[in-house]
């Protein structure tokens, strides 16, 4: 019985008779409280019946238990115990068995890793058994009609007819696996045919793609297919398997174009780590590695632990205790962040900082270290590029061939560069050798990249750090050359402490204190991550992170270094080498024309032929185009390097990722980009917005339901994990691997080519362990392990073992420092300087502070420097140009005295709030966004009863805001507000007030007063489930107001819009060079320019300024003030008594 009819129209009398009805409606008059107590005569002879306690104890009864790996993209990958009763997993618990893990040689790890599992593991069962699971394969109705009509050409009219431009309002049809494989297989073949050859190129050009992109397809339609194994390390076989599938598409290319296998092209493989903006993009510039990360227990060796924009409290829940242990071991903790953050509460001191000015802070610290001679000169000379001479004419490093007539590069063919690191003779020719000024002989001396550490001193060279020298070039001209260290002294004149205080707004005494601490407390480590990496100029910040560490010798020693851990990106954990075999590449890039079909073959025997090509997702997210700008000085100029150039996107297949939801500028994708895509396939376990905007949906098994083996490892712990599920799939779902293998088999049926099915032979036979064994056989970190041994528990835990790193805990660059092995840079040294031609052009040869292209109060993208050795090109773009591409590429150099007089026009127009979107405590990216308990915990507006029917679900997203800033704008705690970014391009280009989609895309959410945030700084946790057409319609028409789609059941976390309403794509030029020389990520070898997840476009969501305006009152139903804000106990609204309590004056003790 529902008694709410009159209640809907009454505000004066709040009747809620439902309770009474519930009590009176049946015959359940259970007056338990009035039951008579059991009489007991002599309690020593008789004890009352306590059988009722069985009810309590039975909650924990289980029939069986099994272990699986909770494997989201949070880097932990906890092995979790699941308890099963009647075939249902009742709960999950930590295993408390980490001390049992051993390596191949019997070495154990510390039991301090226990316990490992967070609240997300705890609530995982609510996701697995929850109402949002994908239960069967689905095809979009309009897409099926297009296929049934014979795939007619997708003219603009047909894109409308088949709802390619309105996917969000179409329906899904339930399909069998066989049918959906047939449809999708035919669809792929059609796309390959449509966009192949000259006709294909014409179609792509007619669709508006740039000639460079079209050319990059090489005439192969399959090159328009983009496959993304979402954070594949979380499941190397099932997730990274999509990259293998992409490589297999070369077979389709031979069939469609009729080319030979030698000339075949595979599909594209989309990045992960960089796409999330999680990579530290500057790290390859400094040391050549994709990213530097330690095992978490390494933190305990640190004596000075510095978190810059990092939140190890909320974002590393199972292992944050290791940083807390720094305190217990007498270490000092320092936090640098704009807000008084959770880790700041644990710090010895917190340095507040203006957003995005960390580079300036670190340059100021470096200046103190140099001026006060607090640097480690020996380390600097041995391991850094600071002694190398730089030419003052072209700003390149001086090379021996410039000054020594007839110079030949030194023979290092037997050294570590060639023998260990995989340097090729061709690469050697390009990078050449280098010159230092030998203080002993007072003359220039040539050194190679192998001459690092003790190897340089063994040659008797003592490089000068200071001074200016004149050399005679081979052409007879004289040229001034300067050691980089001396140049930095000139460069850092712009970063004296007073200037740094003005730039950063940080307290002078704390900057000095940190500089002195770094100089005197060792080992020191800096922990960064998504905090700094999500800014446009993260490259400079990452390089700057290293400068004080280089100066003080804090690299390569336990407890030192600069580390990121933002996302489990490290395919490099399955590192291939000349002495082990292909490793990771053996799985994703086995020759599709010659797959090894011998189940006993060693991984080292696998023939690798990578026909797929890496590509950054960032270009799709930029309107499916590269960075090309019409410049006043040079006309049309392509800033995207050739090695980075994307192709047009005509097919997207993702797994384990909420791609559309998490695209910065998601509504631009939905509205203006995806309508041109012919097929969007999503594999997932749950209904997401990405699923809602897809054409084909493959429902996958969860970690608990895997029917075959899967393998994972982590960038933040030493555990190698192999597992399978312990319950049968709940629905008509498949393992990711079987989805790919099934489609491959269907392609064999459709085309007659056996190669597709052969490529997945062992998966189709249910023997994924064959592929896992090959992976282990051929990786430097796992060679020697047998899957059967690991599963049998030979290494302590069934399914577990320790990765074979050089050190335990893992310490990057240990070999470089201890054994004088070169770093993975051109110079073989830690680099504070880059002389690649693009870098010189952009004015970033030195580590330099730049204001952001949007998130600044000053001239966008200005280079803050007066250094004469920085000579950027502004391309003639005027300072007041507001175009986002122009702001992206414009390089204007000004000293701070001039910069501080400038203003960001956007701020002048009211966009004055920095808006950061960090990762959440209760989600992993957008995962767990529909776990009811997590939603309730996630904000101050969680309410299982949804008493305010405006709430989209049992949770409500919130914007943290300084109370004074909010009050000044008439915004009360708990009010709904709009958060708007630049009206010219957000939420999507071409929005209009009367466009119904604008209503979907504009962000509205609740405000929460939070005094921890500075006045002009707001925070909204990222990656909530965005509003879609269907959720907005539901929210506005359902009697209960829930934002849950009528047919798909998709639950939005917001009434309107999403985090991505305010963010947009920025194609950072420094991320797109062709000339950066650095280590290849998953093999011992080097690469110039682009490599996916290594050197490429990083998304930068924090590059966002917003305007905030009140939308609705926060009180119940939109009336008055949100009740909790009126209690006197809430932040920013404290009563006098509460203020006394906070100041410790409430209770006076005489």
């Amino acid at each position: 019985m529902k008694l709410s009819r009159r209640d809907l129209l009454r505000a004066t009398v709040g009747t809620t008779v439902g309770v009474a009805a519930a009590i009176l409606g049946g015959h359940e008059l259970k007056l338990q409280a009035l039951q008579a107590p059991t009489e007991v005569g002599n309690p020593l002879e008789f004890y009352p019946d306590r059988d009722w306690e069985k009810v309590y104890r039975d909650q924990y009864r289980y029939d069986s238990r099994f272990f699986f790996v909770c494997s989201p993209n949070d880097t932990h990958h906890c092995r979790v115990s699941a308890f099963v009763r009647n075939g249902v997993v009742m709960r999950c618990e930590q295993g408390y068995e980490n001390q049992n893990y051993k390596d191949l040689f019997g070495n154990p790890c510390t039991r301090h890793w226990n316990p490992r599992m967070c609240l997300k593991g705890y609530t995982l069962v609510r996701r697995i058994y929850g109402p949002y699971r994908l239960k069967y394969p689905m095809l979009r109705k309009g897409w099926k009609q297009w296929a049934d009509d014979g795939f007619p050409e997708l003219t603009p009219q047909n894109r409308t007819k088949y709802k390619f431009d309105s996917r969000g309002s179409d329906e899904f049809l339930r399909m069998s696996w066989d049918d959906i494989f047939t449809y999708v297989g035919k669809g792929m073949i059609n796309i390959a045919r449509t966009y192949s050859g000259e006709e294909g190129k014409k179609r792509l050009l007619a669709d508006g793609y740039t000639p460079e992109m079209v050319e990059d397809t090489h005439g192969a339609g399959v090159a328009t297919m983009k496959l993304r194994g979402g954070m594949g390390l979380t499941g190397v076989i099932g997730k990274y398997g999509l990259y293998r599938f992409s490589n297999m598409l070369a077979i389709m290319d031979t069939q469609v174009r009729g080319v030979s296998p030698q000339n075949a092209v595979g599909g594209k493989i989309w990045s992960n780590y960089t796409w999330h903006g999680d990579q530290a993009p500057g790290q390859p510039f400094v040391h050549g590695l994709q990213g530097s990360d330690v095992d978490f227990n390494e933190l305990r060796f640190t004596k000075l632990h510095i978190q810059m924009g990092k939140n190890l409290v909320e974002n590393k829940m199972p292992e944050s205790h290791f940083f807390i242990e720094v305190m217990e071991r007498g270490g000092k903790i320092v936090v640098v962040a704009p807000e008084y953050s959770p880790p700041a509460t644990k710090a010895d001191y917190w340095i507040p900082i203006r957003p995005q000015t960390d580079t300036a802070l670190l340059l100021g610290i470096s200046k103190v270290l140099i001026d006060e001679k607090l640097y480690d000169a020996d380390f600097v000379k041995k391991f850094s590029d600071l002694p190398l001479l730089v030419r003052t004419d072209n700003l390149k490093r001086l090379q021996p061939k410039d000054v020594f007539p007839g110079y030949k590069n030194q023979d290092i063919s037997t050294g570590p560069s060639f023998k260990i690191q995989g340097l090729t003779p061709e690469q050697r020719e390009v990078i050449g050798d280098f010159v230092v000024w030998d203080a002993k002989t007072n003359s220039p001396k040539a050194i190679s990249r192998d001459d690092v550490g003790d190897k340089m001193t063994a040659k008797g060279i003592d490089p000068a750090l200071e001074g200016k020298f004149t050399v005679k070039l081979v052409d007879g001209k004289e040229l001034e050359v300067i050691p980089l260290f001396e140049m930095y002294k000139i460069h850092l004149k712009d970063y004296d402490l007073d200037t740094v205080v003005e730039i950063t707004h940080s307290p002078k005494e704390l900057i000095q204190r940190l500089a002195h601490d770094i100089a005197t407390i060792k080992p020191a480590a800096i922990h960064i991550g998504e905090g700094l990496n999500h800014w446009f100029h993260a490259t400079e910040m990452n390089r700057a992170n290293y400068l004080p560490l280089i100066l003080t010798g804090n690299v390569g020693k336990l407890g030192s270094g600069c580390h990121t851990w933002a996302g489990n990106y490290k395919a490099a954990l399955f590192q291939g080498s000349s002495w082990t075999g292909p490793g990771f590449a053996g799985w994703i890039a086995e020759d599709p024309f010659s797959p090894n079909l011998d189940s006993n073959a060693s991984g080292s025997e696998i023939k690798v032929r990578k026909l797929s090509h890496d590509e950054e997702v960032g270009y799709w997210a930029h309107g499916d185009k590269p960075l090309i700008v019409d410049t006043p000085k040079y006309g049309r100029k392509v800033f995207t390097g050739k090695s980075h150039m994307p192709t047009p996107t005509k097919l997207i297949w993702t797994t384990n990722v909420n791609l559309i939801n998490n695209a910065k500028w998601a509504y631009e994708m939905i509205k203006n980009v995806d309508p041109k895509i012919d097929l969007i396939i999503t594999s997932d376990i749950e209904m997401t917005s990405s699923v809602e905007y897809s054409d084909a949906v493959f429902p996958a098994n969860s970690w608990m339901e895997f029917q075959d083996l899967e393998v994972t490892a982590s960038c933040s712990n030493p555990f190698l994990q192999i597992w399978k599920g312990g319950i049968k799939p709940l629905y008509d779902t498949k393992d990711d691997t079987m989805i790919m293998a099934g489609l491959a088999k269907k392609l064999t049926e459709l085309t007659g080519a056996s190669g597709y099915a052969d490529y997945w032979k062992f998966a189709l036979e249910g023997k994924s362990e064959v592929y896992i064994q090959r992976l282990l056989d051929s990786s430097t970190t796992t060679k020697g392990y047998k899957v059967s041994d690991i599963m049998a528990g030979k290494y302590g835990v069934p399914g577990g073992a320790l990765m074979l790193f050089r050190t335990y805990p893992r310490e990057p660059f240990w070999e470089q420092i201890k054994e004088s092995v070169p770093f993975y840079t051109p110079t073989g040294r830690l680099q504070a300087y880059n002389d690649e031609k693009e870098v010189l052009e952009y004015g970033e040869n030195f580590i330099v502070h730049r204001e952001g292209p949007e998130a600044t109060i000053y001239l966008p993208n200005v280079i803050v420097s007066g250094n004469p050795y920085i000579r950027p090109d502004d391309y003639g773009i005027p300072p007041d140009h507001l175009g986002w591409e122009e702001r992206t590429v414009r390089n204007i150099k000004l000293p701070w005295s001039e910069v501080k007089k400038t203003k960001n026009p956007l701020v002048e127009k009211g966009y004055r709030f920095f808006c950061v979107t960090p990762k959440t405590r209760h989600r992993v990216h957008s995962s767990w966004s529909v776990a009811d308990w997590n939603l309730i915990w996630d904000s101050n507006f969680g309410d299982p009863y949804r008493m305010d029917k405006r709430s989209p679900g049992v949770g409500e997203h919130q914007l943290h805001m300084n109370p004074k800033a909010a009050r000044d704008m008439g915004i009360n705690d708990g009010d709904y507000v709009y958060v708007d970014a630049n009206a010219a391009d957000r939420p999507y280009i071409g929005w209009r007030p009367d466009d119904p989609f604008y209503k979907v895309a504009r962000l509205m959410l609740r405000v929460r007063y939070n005094p921890a945030y500075p006045y002009d700084f707001v925070m909204m946790k990222h990656a909530t489930f965005i509003a879609t057409e269907k959720t907005v319609k539901a929210h506005e028409t359902r009697p209960d107001g829930r934002a849950v789609s009528a047919d798909t059941g998709y639950q939005s976390n917001l009434r309107y819009g999403g985090q991505q309403s305010i963010t947009r794509s920025w194609l950072m030029p420094m991320h797109q060079t062709d000339t950066l020389f650095h280590k290849s990520k998953a093999r011992m070898g080097f690469v110039f320019g682009f490599e996916g997840d290594n050197h490429g476009i990083n998304s930068v969501p924090k590059e966002t300024m917003v305007k905030i305006t009140k939308a609705e009152d926060g009180g119940m139903g939109g009336k008055g003030v949100w009740a909790p804000a009126t209690t006197g106990f809430s932040p920013g609204n404290e009563s006098d008594a509460m203020k006394k309590y906070l100041s410790g004056d409430l209770t006076r003790v005489k």
Binding site: L9, A983, A1111, G1118
Partner: protein, 293 residues
């Protein structure tokens, strides 16, 4: 038609009614003692029978049954009255089930100590139920195209106007009202402060004299108080929290578009008037469109 009291309510009412009456307390205990002699599984029904019998014996249920009997329409269409415990006075009231066959009433136990005021209160509440069942009143649920804050205000005005309609009808029948006319008038002045002061008394008098305000009449006046003045119920221009006429998002800030953009706005929204204003975001949109941003 049967009346069912929630055990928790009945228990508390009986307890309150026993206060100061030792003989009542003794009687209640003696009845309960007999229930304790029964097997455990039968006791809860037994306790409930005790409560029902004492409610009748001490005539604690009389106000409910008495007022119910005054409403023929209830007797004809309602199969069951459910009387439950309210946690506070704000929770008190009556409502109708979705199937229109049961009435739920929530009351604070203390109400039963003053049978007369309880009757007055119940009469008022049952008038609401009677109206809901009255075809002439034409009660119906309908979505309101209002912002949440507007809807909240409209709900409050609706409830208040309906209360006035009921009170005035009761007064004309010679029944006691829950509050005096003057009090209702003062409340009206507060809630409809936007009406011209010199017109408020006349408007209230007209309202008080209305034989029967129907659902639709009340709704129109609640949504657009201008209806009282005989004008069209158009949204008040630039009301904080009202919808922007262009994008339909609620806004608390109203601005004019850039002068240079007026023609563009009018071309796209021919029915829009300058005095209506627009939200800052829409103004910014048009500024960009005409290049004055």
């Amino acid at each position: 038609m049967k009346t069912v009291f929630e055990p928790a309510l009945a228990d508390e009412v009986i307890q309150l009614a026993s206060g100061g009456y030792p003989e009542r307390l003794e009687r209640w205990r003696s009845l309960q003692d007999k229930v304790y002699e029964q097997p455990v599984e039968k006791r809860q029904d037994g306790f409930y029978l005790v409560q029902v019998s004492l409610m009748e014996e001490w005539r604690l249920d009389a106000p409910v049954t008495s007022v119910t009997s005054e409403f023929r329409v209830l007797d004809g269409e309602i199969s069951e009255f459910l009387v439950a415990r309210a946690r506070s006075r704000r929770e008190e009231g009556a409502d109708l089930s979705w199937d229109g066959q049961r009435v739920g009433v929530k009351l604070c136990p203390e109400r039963f100590l003053d049978p007369h005021s309880l009757e007055v209160f119940l009469r008022h509440e049952f008038m609401h139920i009677s109206d809901m069942l009255d075809r002439a009143f034409d009660y119906r649920l309908e979505p309101l195209d209002l912002t949440p804050s507007q809807e909240a205000a409209a709900r409050e005005r609706y409830g208040f106007l309906w209360d006035i309609s009921i009170e005035s009808r009761l007064a004309r029948c010679g029944k006691e009202t829950t509050a005096d006319r003057d009090i209702w008038q003062r409340r009206f002045a507060t809630l409809f402060a936007a009406l011209p002061e010199e017109r408020r008394e006349a408007v209230f008098q007209r309202l008080w004299d209305e034989p029967l305000l129907r659902h639709q009449d009340i709704m129109e006046k609640a949504v657009g108080p201008e209806k009282f003045l005989g004008t069209e119920a158009v949204p008040t221009p630039r009301t904080p929290g009202a919808k922007c006429p262009l994008c339909h998002f609620p806004t608390f800030q109203w601005v004019d578009p850039p002068t240079a953009a007026l023609a563009v706005v009018l071309a796209e929204f021919p029915r829009w008037k300058v005095e209506e204003g627009m939200c800052p975001r829409c103004s910014e949109y048009y500024a960009i469109q005409v290049g004055v941003w």
